[in-house]
Subunit: 455 residues, 2 copies
């Protein structure tokens, strides 16, 4: 009896999907240039028990299993493998508990980030990690890639908010990690090991997440610069001044041009870079923090600085940043990179990417999280033109090489998946790579979980 | 040739210490009731190379190695084992680099927490983790136990500040984990797996730590209560109000009595609990935050509330909390526990400990980090009296049982070591325990690193 028959024998009919017209949509995440296989079945469980059953049978039959959230990933980590199972968590999407007294929430992995965020906001609480895809990415995917977002410059990334997990291991055993308390050092930190492991160590079926009190209404400032160097200097000055804005984003000239076209706005003159910053200190403190950032931007050579007290006005200033990926997608096929460098190397990264763009003749915009040094160089090209596709891939590699040369990492928040496997080995080196293999073996001796991904 | 001869052959003379009068002092950390062996030698390397050489020889000879910081630990994790090597990092105690632009510091493991904190403070930067032992604990030890402290209620614990590590593995290979950037998701988070692993996975030889900008001068408030329930209610109300004080400590009646005696102060009347809180928002914002905490304390039934604008006055209010362990030590032998419960169960924990104290007839004070739910019940007894020692151990166990029953953990920040090995198994259960063993094997297949500790 093959794996699908065995699954059908013990799981409800609608949990095991094999009709090709339905499984096709589960093959790919949103990464470019990443192959995907044809799965034997897509399994859509409703309970931890059904996940455990699936993994037990997969283990017994040696069948690969690809855990999958909402397929919003950008590295191919959730792509199907030939003859394997896709294990999608979309039906496990409930908030199980909100506990304001202990500032925590317990959720299932399939819930969208935005739905979780709104559910806790209704109780006066705040879940900070806010990837740009928050309206259509799942918390399970956020956990598996250790997602960041715009407010991590002040509040950190997903791993900083994970108190505990329920995880089904390759064997089908159910592991509980962590706890409900804000501190705890009993045993190895398996929680943070599993976060960011891209589905290679287990299937997350429940997460206990720490929350913060809601923030005050943001104050916003936008500053235009005639050079990326001046904008990067302003970022450094903000850091050196000991300020901790709740958002500190940058856009290069190509990003500004694309966004202005998309929004049908006039293009600012002589503008090579734009900084956007927010403070969520609220009231006078928020106004004062934004005013200090504005003053530092002016001092660093900003040609225009606009402050907004009102959150709605602030969102107008943010519009260019919010729409930038859509703006690039309107121009062609896009390939979004995700390198992170020490903050002090920001200008070098942006100038280096501009050089790659000149060399390839392609548009490469560089929006990103300036306060973290985490940039998203976005290559725009015509996928139907093999020569452009080749140059797009070459530029992608050049940008990762540049990131490593500047003391950075090949991925700040999107993950390795299939896309950056070869680059991971270069970044971490042979001792670490070997240890990765041993750790993987400790969790999944048969190697059935998301094979061919990460390393 | 035995292991000591082999070490002497390749390491400088003064690195390998075998004279019993010198090795004796390296056998124990500060835990009670934890056995220690007699080591074959104490190795005190000056470089990563010497650490690697030591581990290579230990690996070849199958010799146990106990990594050791400043022996300030409270769980026996650093205790020597018979015939093994103690590998002490006291000579590797330098600050290698302070990088204000990227808000990070690179240090060797032997540096004391206070020395690191002062070195970065001189550059306007702040390393938050502040265990009470900060003047005599090493950063290597802090990393190995994932230490907390008083300001983690706002700023988190050691693991939240570790960007990257250099670690010598059991084989003698040198592993580099993490990076210098504030974000990064390339590969498994081996950094946070090694943090808190109590020397069982490798020997940390260098750490890259994130810093924050220095905080403003603290505003302080102390509030006295006629019941622990009222004090715990105030803590809950502070959390519910969305406040995030930079310190939120509690002392029970036994702690207040001991401290008052130690400081030769009058005992406040009718006082069963004291809350201490600080704000480091600075200026009007700090004053306002402390005033809100004071108002909530009054509303919860505080019998006396004192606010201090001046940091020196604030330290006077803090004196009772700062001296409480010395105060208990003046009364007898002390055994400090370290349980952490959900904040909402604080009163139940304190009342439960008081019940244990009544049952044993021993003094058990309960000072702790109220804002984290992380309490340090401290048993005072006469170690020369076997019956008292027996009751002290019994009460220790009862307190851990109570912590688990309240949904908490057996250790919030001190670690497992030898002291809580049996309790770890109860807390994490067989699936997790088995996975711990497999992860350990992935790093240290021969089991030479800190054998007999943690699990």
């Amino acid at each position: 009896m093959d794996v699908v028959d065995r699954l059908r024998e013990v799981l409800p009919d609608d949990v095991v999907v094999t009709a090709p017209d339905r499984t096709e949509g589960y093959r790919y995440d949103r990464a470019m240039f990443c192959p995907a296989g044809v799965p034997a079945a897509v399994v859509l469980p409703r309970t931890t028990d059904q996940v455990a059953t699936t993994l037990r049978i997969a283990s017994q039959t040696g069948t690969p299993v690809v855990p999958q959230g909402a397929r919003s990933g950008l590295s191919g980590a959730a792509n199907a493998v030939d003859g394997g199972l896709v294990l999608g968590t979309e039906r496990m999407n409930r908030v199980l508990e909100i506990d304001p007294a202990n500032r925590l929430v317990v959720v299932q992995p399939g819930i969208f980030n935005a739905d979780l965020s709104r559910a806790v906001a209704a109780r006066g609480l705040f879940y900070p990690p806010d990837p740009s895809s928050w309206e259509f990415c799942s918390i399970g995917g956020n956990l598996s890639t250790n997602s960041g977002g715009l407010c991590c410059v002040k509040y950190g990334v997903t791993t900083d908010y994970v108190l505990g997990l329920e995880v089904v291991l390759a064997s089908g055993e159910v592991l509980r990690t962590g706890r409900r308390t804000v501190k705890g050092v009993a045993g190895y930190d398996l929680t943070k090991l599993i976060v960011g492991s891209e589905g290679t160590l287990g299937v997350i079926t429940e997460a206990t997440l720490a929350l913060r009190p809601e923030s005050a209404r943001p104050h916003t400032v936008a500053a235009l610069f005639a050079s990326t160097a001046a904008a990067a200097q302003a970022v450094s000055d903000v850091v050196a001044a000991g300020l901790v804005p709740s958002l500190l984003e940058i856009m290069d000239a190509a990003s500004i041009v694309a966004s202005a076209a998309y929004l049908h706005q006039d293009l600012p003159l002589d503008c090579e870079a734009m900084l956007l910053a927010q403070s969520d200190l609220g009231g006078d403190a928020g106004r004062a923090e934004v005013a200090r950032i504005a003053a530092l931007a002016t001092q660093a050579g900003a040609t225009d600085v606009i402050e907004a007290d009102d959150p709605a006005e602030g969102e107008l200033l943010m519009a260019a940043r919010r729409c930038v990926l859509l703006a690039f997608e309107a121009l062609g096929t896009t390939m979004i990179d995700d390198v992170c460098v020490p903050r002090s190397r920001l200008a070098e990264l942006m100038d280096g990417v501009a050089k790659v763009a000149r060399e390839t003749g392609l548009t490469i915009g560089v929006p990103g999280h300036a306060g973290d040094g985490n940039m998203h160089p976005t290559v725009v090209f015509d996928a139907a033109d093999p020569e452009q596709a080749r140059r797009a891939q070459w530029s992608f590699d050049e940008i990762m090489r540049l990131g490593l040369d500047l003391g950075g990492t090949i991925t700040g928040e999107h993950g390795v998946g299939v896309l950056k496997k070869e680059w991971l080995a270069r970044e971490i080196g042979p001792v670490s790579l070997n240890l990765h293999r041993e750790v993987k073996r400790a969790f999944d001796p048969q190697g059935i979980l998301n094979p061919g991904k990460v390393f």
